[in-house]
């Protein structure tokens, strides 16, 4: 274990260096570019002998990753925003063909208007593409998630691609202290990738990507749905093994001060850090505040959320993407749907925040908690609110 100060993108590239994938195919896009740049330096300096395919678009990046994974290689890539949007068609091909791979997404707003700041509309737009989605609060979690993602993705009972999110700029371009594992620890944890389904196995020629009519398509998709559902257990097991290695406990949903909390904020990624500080401050004032931070969004950890929220009076769900659904952001709608099965039904308010990199500060989160407290026991008139937007 060693400590080093690195930019978020360099931290991700460091995890990739340690994993030493067989193939990386990538295209630069702000703010994920740094990951690809750092990685290419490793290749050009001869530190790694990974086959680095410098494609002409993200569409081809994902296409090449699909080809390489089908050929039995351990495959990684990184992108953001428009790049992920351009890959959209192929995201479903990768998951539908049950191809393991890891993609890091440095979250960034989608056009139009064009904007390079952080929000989650890119990865939330891909939430139903059959990929497992892990969100990271900071670069350290990003590093940990990338290493875990390799094992989750390649597990024989999962065989699904995994997307690891870090917040664009906030995490990708900030210097943080990384507690890194040793190279041999990472390589030992990742293990060697072996598959029975390689295109390079000439003795047993496989046909990848056949045409399925209505006679078969439905069953194939049901199998895929079952696999992502069953991946909870494997994600938990991999996280436990990673804890043994790193000493870092990372459940699929982090609950902070939730044992006796009456009001809580649920939020993904870097804003969880800000919220934790607000919770501490409110606790010192005697307010029973808590934080819920899902690390996993796909599959959606509904059971865990029901368990954590069972004694809660009010819950604010913060979404860093506007789903244009007129019924709330994705974290809100999924959570509210999950809580339909819960015995307790806290008041739930949705706050859309931080679009296009709009700052979110402690005062904003404090305001959210205070609104929850003020409206406790009342039926709120407006349940979908926009936090920090000018009128």
């Amino acid at each position: 274990m060693s400590k080093v100060a690195l930019l978020g993108n360099a931290t991700i590239a460091e995890a990739m260096r340690q994993i030493n994938p067989d193939v990386v195919a990538a295209f630069p896009i702000t703010p994920a570019t740094g990951i690809v740049q750092e990685f290419s330096q490793y290749v050009h300096d001869g530190v790694l002998d990974t086959e680095f395919i410098t494609v002409e678009s993200e569409h081809s990046a994902m296409s090449a990753c699909i080809g390489a994974s089908a050929a039995g290689a351990r495959v990684m890539t990184a992108t953001s925003s428009a790049g992920l949007a351009l890959m959209w068609e192929l995201l479903g091909v990768a998951s539908g063909l049950r191809l393991p791979m890891v993609m890091v997404v440095a979250n960034r707003a989608l056009s139009s208007p064009i904007n390079i700041g952080c929000d989650h509309s890119d990865s939330m737009g891909a939430r139903d593409s059959g990929w497992i989605q892990l969100y990271s609060e900071n670069a350290q979690e990003g590093y940990d998630n990338v290493i875990k993602a390799v094992r989750i993705s390649e597990n024989k009972d999962v065989r699904l691609p995994v997307m690891v999110m870090i917040d664009g700029f906030i995490t990708s371009h900030c210097t943080e202290v990384l507690e890194s594992l040793e190279d041999d620890q990472v390589r030992g944890f990742a293990g060697e990738y072996k598959t029975d389904y390689s295109l390079l196995n000439i003795e047993n020629p496989l046909t990848y990507g056949p045409y399925q009519t209505s006679e078969y398509y439905f069953e194939t998709k049901k199998q895929e749905a079952d696999s992502i559902k069953d991946s909870f257990g494997i994600i938990k097991k991999v996280s436990e093994e990673f804890e043994t290695l790193s000493g870092r406990h990372q459940s699929i949903v982090e609950s902070y001060m939730m044992e006796d909390a009456e009001v809580a904020v649920m939020v993904l990624s870097s804003t969880a850090g800000t919220t934790r500080a607000v919770v501490d401050s409110l606790r010192s004032e005697g307010i029973k505040a808590g934080l819920i931070k899902p690390r996993l969004f796909r599959p959606f950890p509904a059971e865990k959320i029901i368990e954590i929220t069972k004694n809660l009076k009010s819950l604010a769900i913060l979404d860093r993407s506007e789903a244009f659904s007129a019924s709330g952001g994705p974290l809100f709608t999924e959570t509210r749907s999950a809580l339909y099965e819960s015995g307790s039904k806290p008041n739930i308010i949705n706050y859309i925040y931080g679009l296009g990199g709009r700052d979110i500060c402690m005062e904003d989160i404090r305001k959210v908690f205070l609104e929850l407290l003020e409206e406790e026991g009342k039926r709120p008139e407006v349940i979908i609110r926009h936090l920090g937007v000018r009128k």
Partner: protein
């Protein structure tokens, strides 16, 4: 020199029983191209007639590893497969030589797949890209592509009262590919099978990217008797609307010159219902235009191949 007896004796990598239309040129292209080599080969295929007709789950016609991902990305997909091969070989995880090929129709090559193809050519992957050109989006019901010849009636360039078929000339993809200055580029025809097999072998044995564009007549889209596929391919070559040539190290080389046997394009057009309207009195002037354009391009090619240089 390869003989037809040798070819038919080889185990077919694309087995019979597939669902391509009777008389389809695409299956002929695949079997001729793949008959040229004994080295194992992995195939990537763009969405299209070939893919959809040969991989109807739970069956497959492919006796060799095959991947279909999407319409526009066969070249990028094979880039990944070939990249994995290089990596795994370097790391001692696999042994033995494997060739890589991508097949796409004109839609997946000239149009929606052009960017992916261009990128793969520029990066220098060691693969052979084969376009089976039937001159329209046949799989979706004969819509015009940039490979559709001038004047042809398709479902999106119909012979209408005002506009008599496709108002644009065909994109010259073979020259666009040649402009990438890759080691080997060729144009071939299912009619000249010996030439196609020879070119395919050369393409596979070339290190780096190679491209072969093969005319593959389509009875469904061109509308003719399926037994005439090879005849129409041959007449495309003799009328010089589809010349056979190679481009090696930037040098153009004619593979076949019909010389005195050169025929008028009209004779070729007349056998296909998609050009029927061109023979109506009000459209006949277009036949001269097509002949003029064909001769112009043919003469340019003759000049380039005799001087060995691009104009």
């Amino acid at each position: 020199m390869v003989s037809i007896t040798e070819i038919v004796k080889k185990p077919q990598k694309l087995a019979c029983g597939h669902r391509l239309c009777p008389g389809c040129g695409a299956g002929v292209v695949v079997n001729l191209v793949l008959s040229s080599i004994d080295t194992p080969v992995v195939i990537a295929n763009a969405t299209g007639c070939l893919e959809v007709s040969t991989t109807v789950y739970p069956y497959t016609s492919w006796n060799t590893p095959f991947i279909h991902s999407a319409f526009e990305n066969a070249a990028a997909t094979i880039s990944g497969v070939e990249g994995a091969y290089r990596s795994l070989k370097r790391r001692g995880k696999i042994n033995g030589e494997i060739y890589f090929a991508a097949f796409g129709g004109d839609g997946g090559t000239y149009d929606i797949g052009l960017q992916s193809l261009s990128g793969a050519l520029e990066r220098g992957h060691d693969f052979v890209y084969v376009c089976y050109d039937n001159g329209a989006y046949m799989n979706t019901g004969v819509q015009r592509s940039s490979a559709t010849p001038f004047g042809a009636s398709t479902t999106t360039s119909p012979a209408g009262k005002e506009i008599p078929g496709k108002p644009h000339y065909k994109k010259d993809i073979t020259r666009i590919v040649a402009a990438h200055e890759i080691p080997y580029v060729a144009q071939a025809s299912v009619s000249h099978w010996k030439d196609l097999v020879k070119k395919s072998k050369k393409a596979f044995e070339t290190k780096g990217p190679a491209f072969i564009n093969v005319i593959a007549p389509c009875p469904t889209g061109w509308v003719y008797d399926p037994k005439d596929t090879i005849k129409l391919a041959r007449e495309a070559v003799y009328s010089c609307i589809w010349p056979l040539y190679e481009v090696e190290d930037g040098k153009y080389k004619l593979s076949f010159d019909p010389k005195k046997k050169k025929t008028d394009v009209a004779g070729w057009l007349k056998q296909q219902r998609r050009f029927r309207h061109l023979f109506e009195p009000q459209n006949e002037y277009l036949l001269d235009e097509i002949q003029g354009e064909t001769d112009k391009k043919w003469n340019e090619l003759l000049e380039e191949s005799s001087s060995g240089k691009r104009k």
